[in-house]
Assembly symmetry: C2
Homo-oligomer: 301 residues x 2
């Protein structure tokens, strides 16, 4: 029986989750929950034949897993609603400081419903978290660094857009090594706004005040925007009493494509865990992969 | 209560497992099972105060986990004996083609004893296997390459030592990229042996016949030997329908130090799994780390 998947939300990640799901032979689409798309007469061409309704509640009994492609702030509410409907859930909640509290609340909701929630299933938090845990197991003492980019920071971009005088913006994260980042901020200005004033406001914002920040005016942000991203995770330290051990993980990726693929892989994993809420470091990696364990043990171990 | 660990075998890996265990605040040494050391009057200085007996059976009821630092060929027998004694086991069995069969046999033995066996817990198989599984979850379609070295290949070195005319040998694995390896073989010859003849025999051996192999005569193999090793895992492919995704994992490490550290980390994990036999891709990564999950979720996710 294929896994029946409901996609909730249809932004960048939702669109690519649909693509990833269509590549997964062990899954089928139950439908798309989207308030805005459920009201339009002309959904995008790729959604032809897809059942589009306003809310997860409209799919009660029709989905095994709900992939929550909604803003992080909305994740806890949607997760609780889907769990109560008897669906397992996967999200890519990325507010690092709230993960543990959110996990505790979703854990209670998941156990009450006898279902599983996979929390923060993207690449960071997500697959990077798994790599960091593995590196700690290999080199328990030492120093780790997570270097992001070059790539667009969603959080920083939203912060810039809220600043007076900014019409549109893009904040790029540029790795300077050892976990230090530079911010390259591209702005379209409102008529009459001064670049100097806007740059001063950006540099004084809590999101930017601690980092080297450069503000550059552009005519059209869309002309410089790209969803490519990367990370370089490094750990140097000791295994047992032996120093000079070095491990690193590096990637260059399309950001929403990887995020949504990881969510789809986690849709398998959530059906294989006991009820409760899990982050990716709490799940056996083989559970992300289709088919039976023995085949993967033979192929990967 | 600290985890009571028995070390079985005292070669390179056993010695470094003892060092790693002494760095682990949540563990204590139950003793060392070593046939040869149990018969000597002068064990090495670092073993002062350590209970040394001939066999695991001499430690019945005294250990939670047995770390099997014995040759791969002896692992299944020692694992079954230790499981029957009520100990959980960790090994770094590295005969890739026999892993699945060995897992099935140890799974039955572990379940019968109500204990857990962690199989093939080194760096390859082991942590590399976890990275490969994670990369598959991130990029389900594409090509993966495991590039080893530069570093000593135990298997190839043993094969050379068995060849006529060879007194001592070291076979180094040199990565050529894309999973292709070159073999650099350093040999001490028996008196009267010809380098030309020995080189021809090595190159005709099944271990070497498919790889570019160079044979170099040295006066003393000990002068060129080093336990440094490395790996470069690469996967290029697609997430969903999006191509050009690239991930890589790279390390430079002291080989027995990393192997033994991973075994010690797995000693924690085996106490946290249901009875049965597991490879590392089947274990939640957080289970390798000391202390409670919440702290690691907060720190790593």
């Amino acid at each position: 029986m294929p896994i029946k998947v409901l996609i909730v939300g249809y932004g960048n990640v939702g669109r690519m989750a649909l693509q990833a799901l269509r590549q997964a032979k062990d899954m089928e689409l139950a439908g798309l929950a989207s308030g805005s798309l459920s009201q339009t007469d002309k959904p995008p061409a790729e959604l032809e034949g897809v059942s589009i309704k306003a809310a997860p509640e409209d799919f009660k009994g029709e989905a095994d897993v709900a992939i929550l492609c909604v803003p992080s702030r909305s994740v806890p509410e949607f997760a609780k609603r889907c769990l109560a409907l008897g669906m397992n859930t996967v999200d890519s909640f990325d507010i690092h400081t709230d993960i543990l509290d959110t996990k505790k609340r979703l854990d209670a909701a998941a156990k009450a419903a006898g279902r599983t929630a996979v929390l923060s299933a993207g690449w960071d938090p997500g697959s990077d978290s798994v790599v960091r845990a593995l590196m700690m197991a290999m080199l328990p003492r030492g120093l780790s660094y997570t270097n992001f980019g070059p790539g667009m920071s969603m959080g920083h971009t939203v912060a810039v857009k809220a600043i007076e005088g900014v019409k549109n913006a893009l904040s790029m994260t540029m790795p300077q090594g050892d976990g230090i980042h530079k911010r390259m901020v591209y702005v379209e200005l409102e008529p009459g706004a001064s670049l100097e004033d806007v740059a001063a406001r950006i540099k004084a914002d809590p999101y930017f005040v601690h980092d080297e920040t450069h503000v550059i005016e552009v005519e059209d942000v869309a002309e410089v925007q790209d969803v490519g991203h990367g990370v370089h995770l490094v750990r140097q330290g000791s295994s047992g009493a032996t120093h000079n051990q070095y491990v690193e993980f590096n990637m260059r990726i399309n950001n929403p494509a990887l995020t949504s693929q990881i969510m789809i892989s986690c849709a398998r994993a959530c059906l294989r865990q006991e009820p409760g809420c899990y982050t990716m470091i709490e799940i056996p990696p083989v559970d992300y992969l289709p088919g039976d364990r023995d085949g993967w043990v033979k192929k990967l171990v």
